[in-house]
Symmetry: C2
Subunit: 191 residues, 2 copies
DNA sequence: AAAATCATTTGACAAAAATCAAAAAAAATC
DNA sequence: GATTTTTTTTGATTTTTGTCAAATGATTTT
């Protein structure tokens, strides 16, 4: 088995029992990669070639709109991350994905992943399950984004994903929660 | 082939060439159903038993928060619709799904869909492709939801999905775009 | 068709959040 | 370790949007 892909193994097995053969085929079709703080996994304008899995570290996706840097998502240990629309359609990405802190990742190229699906049916099955999981997650995010007050949105994030509050900057969190830096700072001042 | 499932056939074949056998197996595992204006496809608190496809009509998903009716999504001819988290996890739905106008639908039960995946690998493949498509769509919605002004959000919807503006009420659109009815009314008054 | 109900518009005002500006604190660089 | 740069906080003000209320318009019911 691929060394240091223990979190990925654990995560996959939570979805379904893949069997050792399929699991190893999957792990070995990808590769390990490290990114330093500030390094990009995906750059806007380029096609997202890889799907990544975070073994360690903290990743942020963002795009630029009218000179402003807007956070789309945060990814922690145990999360898959890529620019989904770019990876799926193999079209240029509108988002950047970068390491906020030094990260250990597992990565698989789009082409290799597609080939796996032909080789081993179980792998398309587990990919489908993972996709469903992320669909539910983004649907929840969409609902939370409609929570009325800025305070409610902040408190919701604080409860549901406290690691993000600890690791990300005020500016990064503010754009993610769709409020100004000053508003977020004031919310935090009054707990 | 199942009568009057022409839009479904067309939609599926846009994703991949299924072959007549797989296509018919899929179509015949579901059933046609009509819903009158106001009738529910899914009720909050109950498990979403079916995945629906809109052959004709207009469908709205919404949930209740603090007495208020908040629109989650609109579905038109050519869309799949269910309460995804409920359907996937087979847990009670937090959302209601109902016909805004009389609708012709194709529906498949969760159990039957899962069985199909065992019978015919191609069907899990196309389901995966459809899921990816909807993932990209919801990701776009999340990004649009962070557009700053109420006017921008309205104009974006007007451009991207004009049928919704025509068919839904001011109140339904306002909650979908996360603004008050009065604000939406004023935006429309100033074009 | 009249009455009743519901949806939409408009106006006045209040509340929430953004913006602008400057100070304080923290982090990065030399 | 001092200086520069960046981030965060705090204050004052403006803008945006929500709320309340009433009027108008549309739809449904009797």
């Amino acid at each position: 088995m691929l060394e240091n892909a223990s979190k990925l193994t654990e995560t996959l097995l939570k979805f379904t029992d893949l069997g050792e053969k399929s699991l190893n085929l999957f792990l070995e079709s990808g590769f390990k990669i490290r990114k330093n703080k500030g390094e990009r996994l995906i750059t806007a304008g380029e096609v997202a070639d890889c799907l990544f899995f975070v073994e360690k570290g903290f990743i942020r996706s963002y795009y630029l709109r009218e000179e402003k840097d807007i956070t789309i998502s945060f990814s922690l240990k145990g999360d898959f991350i890529t620019s989904m629309s770019s990876f799926i359609l193999q079209q240029p990405s509108y988002e950047n994905v970068e390491a906020i802190e030094e990260a250990s990742l597992w990565a698989i190229k789009h082409k290799d992943l597609m080939n796996l699906f032909h080789t081993d049916q179980k792998l398309e099955h587990i990919y489908r399950l993972v996709l469903e999981h992320y669909y539910i997650r983004i649907e929840e995010e969409l609902i939370f984004s409609k929570f009325k007050s800025t305070k409610e949105r902040y408190l919701n994030l604080l409860h549901s994903r406290p690691e993000i509050i600890q690791k990300a900057s005020v500016g990064q969190i503010a754009s993610y929660l769709d409020m100004s830096i000053e508003t977020l700072s004031r919310i935090r001042a009054n707990i």
